[in-house]
Amino acid sequence: MVVLRQAERTVASPGVRTSRLGRDFWLGYALTLPAVLVVVGLVAYPLGYAFWLSLQDIKVGGQGQFIGFGNYARLLFDSQSRIYGLFWNSVKVTALYTGGALAGKFVIGMVSALILNAQIRARHFWRTLLFVPWAIPAVVSAFTWKWIYNDVNGVLNTFFTNLGLVERPILFLADPRIALWSVLVAAIWQGAPFWTMTFLAGLQAIPRELYEAAAIDGATPLQQYFRITLPLLTPVITVTVMLSAIWTSNAIQYVYILTNGGPANVTETFPLLAYHEGMTAYDLGIASAIPLVFFPVFAILIYFLTRRMLRQEG
């Protein structure tokens, strides 16, 4: 106890740290240096460099011209600029895509978790099977879905045509009315198992006695779900939603491989727009500015996510 208090005093008064800890004080800094270097080198420097690029009119391999916040102004306010329309379209598409994916994954993840948490036959087999999509690399599954959706010889169109349900193939990826939904189905298919996994872990942590007591009190299964399951799962749901929102809105594999943002930009999310501007059109300034516009949103999200996760650990 005495030792602990002494340690607390030491930490509380930095002025005496060196004299009390002696060489150990510097050893502490030396030991944390690799971690600091990693964070600075892999996070701070790229972020700083991206910000620096976003302040320039610069092409790949070229010499930039400093234009201050000109790129941001074009993106956000210059309605006469071509990129302005593309940017705001990408904001809308990203919101729809992320919102749709989260909703779909939530419903499928929750239903699957509830089923797999119940005493069903061959439960372990079903659990394993359900997680298969999560284990497949996104690029592989995206190409598979591209084949499934193919308008000429894809699985779905062949199936519908053979059954006589359609006369002409459905343009899953080329019809602007359904392209985004087609991409969403593929993204939800792959992402939902992660939600199932986390929800299932959360469900298994809820004491059975609560359900038994509620049943004795006459609560219906629906009441049990809304009064016990959902409130006790809220922390898990919050973390899952935040994590998935960050991953989904930043991922470009599905939109890139399935539609490359088309048709007519209806599936062009903001990371894909940044990719197009930077890697295809060589415009590093605009390409860096696009994701940085969203940086504050993600920073806030990550702040709350980290705080909640640390609180849970505590």
């Binding site: 600091v36 302040l55 010499q63 990826l173």
Partner: protein
């Protein structure tokens, strides 16, 4: 108001925020420093010396004697120094394999080494190259096409190679105009010519024959044939309408036949919102897609391989493409290759024009190969080897850059390539009638033409509205001073 703000000043500001560690990382962070501005000054005039590439195996190719090659630049091999060469993968493996073979021979003869690498011919490969350039570690030699030659020159990344090209310019009838437009800027050469990539219409001659048709002479015949031959899943015309490179080619090839063009001779924008040629062309495209339905509906979302796969899987009667389609057929579906013939564009009110793009080899300033790299480039232009490479080894994959080499039997006597005479003699690059400078490069890489096609065929705007949107976006691009270089 634009200001020059040095990187050093920025780092100083950054350092205040992140401390001295940031500065340390910046120093070792992969050489992200932008490359210095272009050096417009020409390379010093070469002194006379024997070409190091003169000892190629004689072939029966039609190459004029290399009298002028004796004036090739004096290049001193640097023993042991490596030349790094990156080439994108081609459908025809020989395209790069023969270059590798040639460079290995030259390197061995001159006592240096070549590190030859094929990188994917897709966005992943391009990203890798872009990253290497941005990091200041590009290869010495990289194959470029179309606007890329001028783009990397404008970024100050490539070297003036006029001294290397000049000795060959008067040989074999000189080079085609598209070659010169692609490679030169203000009279200087910024890449060495490699090949002319033609875009013929790959056509199912068997289907035309069965229906008693000949290749359409004009767009009216084109539509009539299209309506007669389209029976889904077989569609007549594999025109790409998405935001990809092929859409640029397909659209501009059609526009020329109506008398339109993208650029004027002085490099200014050659299209206005009420341009009749463009409006007529757009109206035709929209009609073929929406009313006639002779273009596959999924083409609004094709990638660059979409029309290739459509033709190869026998779902298209015709499509315009480099002969990568045909070469794939030769290896994988020879019976379909037999049924395929090549044609130039059907005529519009202004006539018919061949479409080509020019492939070049760029010499990158940040490469470390020195004169060894220049020796390699000279070797690839040596006429005897070059004529053999293009005409005898690649057998129609590319047209030669030098005019007289088209006199070879391949182009004169082979029925399949008979139309190539017309394609190259009327051949235009997409940026016609000016070099593909910055403005064209930006228009092409941002797929503004693809946006117009999406307006026309997906959003179903009128040709006038679609063209107005296009012209507005193009004007924004052409108004940037840096795009005039």
């Amino acid at each position: 108001m634009r200001q020059q703000f040095s990187r050093r000043r920025f780092l100083a500001v950054l350092a205040a925020g992140f401390g001295t560690t940031i500065a340390a990382c910046a120093g070792g962070g992969g050489q992200a420093t932008p490359t210095p501005a272009p050096q417009p000054s020409p390379t010093p005039a070469p002194a006379a010396s024997p070409t190091p590439a003169g000892a190629a195996t004689p072939t029966r190719a039609a190459a004029t004697p290399t009298a002028v090659a004796a004036q090739a630049p004096a290049l001193t091999p640097i023993p042991g120094r490596e030349v790094v060469v990156w080439q994108t993968v081609d459908y025809l493996p020989e395209t790069t394999a023969l270059i590798k073979q040639r460079l290995d021979e030259i390197a061995q003869k001159n006592g240096f080494t070549v590190s030859f690498e094929e990188i994917p011919n897709n966005p992943q490969g391009y990203n890798r190259f872009n990253a290497a350039v941005q990091a200041g570690t590009p290869p010495d030699i990289y194959r470029l096409y179309d606007y890329q030659t001028q783009f990397w020159r404008a970024q100050g990344q490539t070297t003036d190679v006029t001294d290397l090209v000049a000795p060959f310019l008067q040989q074999n009838g000189g080079v085609w105009q598209p070659v010169e437009l692609t490679c030169t800027f203000k009279g200087r050469w910024w890449a060495t010519p490699l090949a002319v990539n033609a875009w013929p219409f790959h056509t199912r001659q068997d289907l035309l024959d069965q229906a008693g048709f000949k290749f359409p002479a004009n767009w009216d015949e084109f539509r009539q044939q299209g309506k007669a031959l389209t029976k889904p899943p077989l569609y007549y015309y594999g025109m790409t309408l998405s935001r990809i490179n092929d859409t640029n080619n397909h659209t501009l090839g059609m526009v020329w036949t109506f008398g339109g063009k993208l650029q004027n001779e002085d490099g200014s924008l050659g299209v206005t919102a009420d341009d009749k040629a463009w409006l007529d062309c757009l109206a035709l495209i929209q009609t073929m897609y929406i009313e006639d339905q002779i273009i596959p509906p999924g083409s609004v979302n094709w990638d660059d391989g979409g029309n290739n796969q459509g033709y190869q899987s026998e779902q298209l009667v015709l499509t315009s493409n480099p002969t990568s389609i045909y070469n794939w057929l030769l290896k994988n579906k020879p019976e379909l290759a037999q049924k395929t013939r090549f044609y130039s564009y059907p005529a519009g009110p202004a006539g018919s024009f061949g479409q080509v793009d020019v492939w070049t080899e760029g010499l990158f300033k940040n490469g470390k190969g020195g004169d060894n790299a220049r020796i390699c480039l000279v070797a690839l232009m040596e006429p005897t080897w070059y004529a053999s490479y293009i005409n005898e080894q690649l057998k129609g994959r590319f047209l030669p850059c030098w005019k007289d080499m088209i006199k070879h039997d391949l182009w004169q006597k082979n029925e399949l390539y008979s139309e190539y005479q017309k394609i190259i003699s009327t051949g235009r690059i997409m940026a016609y009638a000016a070099p593909p400078l910055g403005a064209f490069g930006e228009l092409a890489t941002k797929f503004v033409i693809g946006d117009m096609m999406q307006d026309l065929c997906v959003r179903r705007l009128s040709p006038k509205e679609a063209l107005a949107n296009f012209v507005k976006a193009a004007q924004e691009i052409w108004s940037k001073p840096e795009n005039r270089a």
